[in-house]
């Protein structure tokens, strides 16, 4: 089981992912804005962050940069959720330190499998 923070501005998507990951047995912290995501990362120190790229106040890229900057030794892994045609942004996210990405539309089950991979690496 991992402590996962999801940052996604689409409420329905956020709830869906939250439900899926809770069902998989993870502890989920959900937020719909980037600024709040950073506060919650500092408060809860999650094992994994899943973040959309386009978000209000603070973007997914800024969250990736924040995690890379604050890491002392072991960095919190982050999965980026991107839209179709955002290849350049995904590339930028990887350069900043993102660990994986999923392009929308995606299946919640696919995300679940990818999260399991991070959970195994976390053991």
């Amino acid at each position: 089981m991992m402590k996962i923070l999801i940052a996604e501005d689409d409420e329905l998507m956020l709830k869906t992912l939250e439900l899926r990951l809770k069902k998989d047995g993870h502890e989920v912290i959900a937020t719909s804005d980037g600024r709040d995501a950073i506060t919650k990362i500092e408060q809860h120190a999650p094992d994994l962050v899943i973040s959309d790229i386009m978000m209000p106040y603070v973007s997914g890229l800024e969250i990736v940069a924040f995690l890379a900057e604050k890491s002392q030794g072991r960095k919190t892994p982050i999965i980026i959720l991107s839209g179709m045609g955002q290849e350049d942004t995904v590339l930028e996210a990887f350069q900043l330190g993102a660990d994986d990405f999923i392009t929308k539309p995606f299946s919640p089950s696919e995300l679940s499998v990818r999260v399991k991979r991070f959970a195994l690496a976390n053991l």
Partner: protein
């Protein structure tokens, strides 16, 4: 004195009235927002139920309660439900997406989309077509197909994209009948839609290459080169003689992708008949597919060409063969301006 009292009373009265209106308007706005949130929560809850399954391989069909059916008669709820379903469908794929399509069917939302197709407003019609495409309503093809040649460009574009989204390469059948021009942007959109599919040796291109609609010929040529349809090579060669400049340009670009040993010779023979833009395309195509034997002809083109074309020809000569530049340097034209300036520049590019 009385005058001032009246003015002050009037001012106070107007201020109070304004405050009253502001409060009423705020209260109405709050009520509306509360109602919207309530309806959105209901819609989201239905969608979450449709998406979420214990077994990821299972497609869920959720029972729709009588209350939900009744709620669907409410325009606001129906609008919110449809919008939320469309947003979810754009974000989610796999069995969860099929669950969303099932929910759309169960709620019979397609009936309302089909009603909106009859609207006299183009934007309502275009949005309804888009909705039908996103929700994968394949059986509605007959109702959408007629709009692929609609007089309004945005309705037409939406219908063409939707037909291709639903039926893939088979959907391109609208090219048989479309009389309006396909814009450059629409061609890009269609190719983008097709790029996600497996081509499965689709048919029809031969007919489109002979279409009376020039944009259909241009699009067909793009299909030939994107999907490497070598069997259509003779048709493309005949289009080099077409009266339209753009079609000849596209034919040249296509031949650079589906060439034979004779293609560079055919292109060289066309050079003197072409305008400058097409001559440039010819030279660039020969750079990809040309042979050492083509170099003398290319050198012959140099005196009549403009500066930009001269540079492209020298670049082509240099790229065709490692001995290309040496052959050009052995020619008397190599000492003439501006060729004497271009040669060292191109040599620099090759380093």
């Amino acid at each position: 004195m009385i005058f001032f009292e009246i003015v002050i009373l009037l001012f106070v009265g107007i201020t109070l009235l304004m405050i009253f209106f502001m409060m009423v308007s705020l209260s109405i706005k709050r009520k509306k927002a509360g109602k919207f949130k309530k309806l959105k929560n209901m819609a989201d809850s239905l969608i979450r139920n449709a998406i979420f399954t214990e077994d990821p391989s299972e497609v869920k069909i959720i029972p729709v309660s009588a209350r939900t059916q009744k709620m669907l008669l409410n325009n606001d709820f129906r609008k919110i439900m449809t919008e939320e379903l469309l947003v979810a469908k754009k974000n989610i794929s796999g069995t969860a997406a099929t669950g969303l399509e099932n929910l759309y069917e169960q709620l019979n939302l397609k009936k309302y989309a089909l009603d909106r197709l009859k609207s006299s407003s183009w934007h309502v019609k275009a949005k309804a077509i888009q909705e039908i495409g996103i929700m994968n309503q394949k059986e509605q093809i007959d109702k959408i197909f007629k709009y692929t040649n609609d007089k309004h460009d945005l309705v037409r574009m939406e219908a063409q994209t939707t037909i291709v989204k639903l039926y893939g390469f088979e959907g391109l059948r609208f090219l048989d009948v479309v009389s309006y021009q396909l814009s450059e942007w629409q061609q890009i959109k269609l190719l983008q839609e097709l790029a996600q599919l497996h081509p499965d040796n689709f048919s029809g291109i031969e007919k489109w290459l002979s279409s009376s609609n020039l944009s259909v010929i241009v699009f067909a040529l793009k299909l030939v080169r994107n999907y490497h349809r070598f069997e259509l090579y003779p048709h493309v060669v005949t289009l080099l003689e077409h009266s339209d400049d753009t079609i000849r340009f596209e034919a040249i670009s296509t031949l650079a992708k589906i060439y034979t040993a004779e293609t560079s010779g055919i292109l060289i023979a066309r050079f003197s008949h072409e305008n400058e833009k097409n001559q440039m395309a010819l030279v660039k195509a020969i750079q990809e597919i040309g042979f050492f034997e083509d170099i003398p002809s290319l050198i012959d083109f140099l005196p009549e060409s403009n500066a930009e074309l001269k540079r492209a020809i020298v670049r082509t000569i240099a790229n065709i063969s490692p001995e290309g530049i040496a052959q050009l340097e052995a020619h008397p034209i190599a000492e003439q301006y501006p060729i004497d300036q271009i040669i060292p520049q191109i040599k620099g590019e090759l380093k």
